[in-house]
Symmetry: C2
Subunit: 368 residues, 2 copies
């Protein structure tokens, strides 16, 4: 029997894996010994059982519904996270194409994607925000695309720097590829403007260990027959995400979370409003702090998901982190590569948690 | 709050994902809203948090303890299942070696491993049981190893055919590579006789979505720098299984299951005894059925994990499957590629379930 440990839950600002909707956790808990009608746990049933077949179909159809995914796009559920996608994208879409892949790099994850792409073919760094310390997005005019581009790749939200695209960069007609790992499902997306969108689930869409890939069907033909089987989008598509045993529990949670967005939040328009409001509460504190808190990203490119800022001294930042922790607000230390403070406030982060952090920030400034 | 759905649980003979220890499920359920001391669910905490660090360390140390893994072996927790290992093994250990990889093929999974290996280098089919319908293992004399072997690969248990190695094949000094996905932790293993052992967890060791790799440290040096990052054992090792966000919940369950083997079963010697006894109960019914039930595998090579057999006619097999299902015994239909009946009775399968199936088989024969 499960114990009620609700009262022990703190405000969790982890950058990922991150907070999940409480109602989803409660349903998963209630069903963990026995999925209704299945006679066994979701952790124990065959991926080829009717019960799991329904879950897989539901996860796909609910994502299709809330994102309005066009019929000529496939939805795949894979393993390996973004790191495997860093390789799968160029292995499937660049190798043997005779073309060049354009990468727009707006933060740490985009840089790592380039490191893998160059192993597979010609890569053009169409824009690199490193010289600006990754604090902004480029305008379309600043991006230098190749004449014969295999695809244009970008990272819609950079978790470490807190810089987010909420529009689609221009591609000159080449397929647009998006690492949406950290802001997937934060807003409606014009899916038809993309060639491929992928998201490891552990920020907005599920637990660690499942990656959602949405790919335009004509691009599947680029997957070469000599690719390692697990690395071929075509192979996964031909097998309906059952090329091997899929991460069944992760897909079950993706389904519950997609339904939470649809049924409890009211869809992606409402989700976007909620995210704008939530992040706005924290950015307002930063902007009204008269320089006590300094936001990392330029105002126009600020992320709804990761609010990154610094304090006047490293000592104050240490004190800030220690005091938040003592007050039941955890996970606020900035990524070890850039320092400072990072509040990760993905879809499931509650307004209560945001209010608690906002109040803490105001008090902290007063007292320091 | 979780509901008590214990009474709805049936006898689950699924080939994988498969039955898990009930006490493990109950602990996972009790802790699902809040991992003790962490303030959040195991599904929500950062992989870099101290709480997850303890779980990862415990999963490794408990596996080391029960398997007596020597210090010069590394333990990695990856994603992608056996299918990804089919490629990772030759990409890391065969590519650019100038050598030939020897594959001993005793069933469907070994065949699929060969399909991936030939994409990466020279492969020698050292033995192929296909002409015997994969009903037995070869003797060492029947296996034709290469003169300059990169490694010798085998599948310790073939789930579809129900043929199992409970000894190590001779390698002539080459590293021995084992796909132990479906019988990992079923018995003590002389790990020092292996170069690399891997197991996707969803049979004996955890849920779908986590793969355990045990590799001798000197073999890590073979991983080339141009490998896709996620496919390099060296890269995963250098990052302590944190090259990317690992499947945190899956690793948590591997830890609980390893502790269940150590603390509730009493270790791998006891586990092996229990598995011999459990499978023996079913093989005895087959052997005493005077030909009503026909075992697929030769007696000496029968699997402890997957008991495969046929009935006199396909109609009787259909009736058998339908009646077991009606009696709360599920998952007994043989794999679609070979037909017949398959009872998967991994580590966590209870003696109660075995007794129920044995009694059913005896009655079914009487009545038909």
């Amino acid at each position: 029997m499960a114990t009620n440990t609700l009262s022990e839950r703190i405000y969790n600002f982890s950058a990922g894996p991150a907070v999940l909707p409480l109602s989803v956790l409660q349903q998963a808990q209630a069903e963990l010994l026995c999925l209704p009608g299945a006679g066994a746990s979701i952790l124990e049933i065959s991926h080829r059982s009717p019960a799991f077949g329904e879950i897989l179909a539901s996860a796909e159809s609910t994502l299709r519904e809330i994102l309005q995914i066009p019929a000529n796009y496939r939805v795949l559920f894979l393993q390996g996270g973004s790191r495997l996608q860093f390789s799968m994208v160029p292995m499937n879409l660049l190798r043997d194409s005779g073309k060049t892949a354009d990468y727009i790099v707006t933060g740490s994850w985009g840089s790592k994607a380039v490191d893998e792409a160059v192993k597979e073919g010609d890569v053009n760094l169409a824009w690199n925000g490193k010289s600006d310390n990754f604090n902004r997005l480029p305008t379309d005019d600043e991006v230098n695309l190749s004449d014969d581009s295999a695809y244009v790749y970008f990272t819609s939200n950079e978790t470490i720097q807190g810089v987010q695209y909420r529009h689609e960069p221009a591609t000159g007609g080449a397929p647009l590829i998006c690492d949406a790992s950290s802001d997937f499902l934060c807003r409606p997306l014009p899916v038809d403007q993309y060639g491929l969108i992928y998201a490891c689930a552990q920020k907005n869409a599920g637990p660690a260990g499942v990656t959602v890939v949405i790919v335009r069907e004509d691009l599947l033909e680029h997957s070469g027959d000599q690719l390692p089987g697990y690395l071929s989008y075509k192979e996964h598509d031909a097998n309906g995400s059952m090329y091997n045993t899929p991460p069944t529990f992760g897909i079950y949670l993706v389904d519950l979370i997609a339904k939470w967005i649809r049924d409890e939040i009211g869809g992606l328009d409402k989700m976007a409003e909620r995210n704008a409001t939530k992040s706005g509460l924290l950015y307002d504190v930063i902007d009204q702090s008269e320089g006590f808190f300094t936001g990392h990203a330029e105002t126009a490119n600020r992320s709804w998901m990761n609010v990154t800022f610094t304090l006047p001294t490293p000592e104050l930042e240490k004190k800030f982190v220690a005091q938040t922790k003592a007050n039941g607000l955890d996970g606020l230390k900035g990524h070890r590569s850039v320092g400072g403070i990072r509040a990760s406030i993905y879809n499931a982060q509650t307004p209560d948690a945001i209010h608690a952090l906002r109040d803490f920030m105001v008090d902290f400034q007063k007292n320091n």
